[in-house]
Point group: C2
Chain length 192, copies 2
Amino acid sequence: MELLEERIRKDGVVKEGNVLKVDNFLNHQMDIELFREMAQQWKEDFSDCSINKILTIEASGIAIAAIVGAVFGVPVLFAKKSKSLNIDGSVYCAKVESFTHKNVSDVIVSKKYIGPEDHVLIIDDFMANGKAVKGLIEICEMAGATVEGVGIAVEKGFQGGGDALRERGIRVDSLAIVESMDAETGEITFRA
Amino acid sequence: MELLEERIRKDGVVKEGNVLKVDNFLNHQMDIELFREMAQQWKEDFSDCSINKILTIEASGIAIAAIVGAVFGVPVLFAKKSKSLNIDGSVYCAKVESFTHKNVSDVIVSKKYIGPEDHVLIIDDFMANGKAVKGLIEICEMAGATVEGVGIAVEKGFQGGGDALRERGIRVDSLAIVESMDAETGEITFRA
């Protein structure tokens, strides 16, 4: 998506250790108008699917997912990291390792809110090794829900998470795929 | 707000320990259409203010804040709990005790994204003792930003957090204020 790639070129900052900071518009301060354009793109790309639920994971996927829910006109469900005192015992749970935080979390979704009747679009802001999305797919599988696809804002293509999912036959629709980036020059190359 | 009170009566579950579960529509599965109605209400209520930024705190405030950002046409900023490896050192930080999780978190906002030019509407899904919002107000004060008001979906009035802020002269606009609730009967009484 041209608009998102331009924005990453303009406001993204490449840091050592394969870190791409986009907290100016994507995952700290958030440009909701841009999110609406992204949601419209996914709406078009998945127009052949009857999506009835958006699933994401806390925290930085939630805002994008909310706008996607608004554009699709369907409810949004977010998986919670670690067990909250306010969640019932009856949850689906997957283990997810975070690239950013270098730790493993339990990721949970209440069994009440996902089931075989659901056709799910998974949304997240970032994909590196793809472990968060893999955890969400596991939860959908446990629930008997259909994963119609995965919408990612920024995929770090060189880390392989997205391509591994595509090889499994999962439809991964990343709006910008970073093929390489250089912390010294700040240069970012996108997949054509 | 009649619509929200009705929904709480219909789908809210009162539990022992002053817990009101609204994860069916507010903070796990999320009814985005309801959020849009809530955002419209705040837009009307704060029509005398020139709000140019929405501030919330992860995680469950983010979706509501995103929809409020869409309705107001302004960017949304969410405060992060604990220090992420991807955040610069230059942040405003406040300590917040969670009623739900019974712990204290550092809550941080990058100095780049809030300043004296900002007229902020703080948004959150829930207010109990008001400590999360107090932390966000502290951050606005550190940044020299103006807090135009606070929009809360569900305030637990009997826990006093909202009224304490109102006594300080802060404009707190809670769309539903629970005055009392009974875990045995499930009865919920709202402030008139």
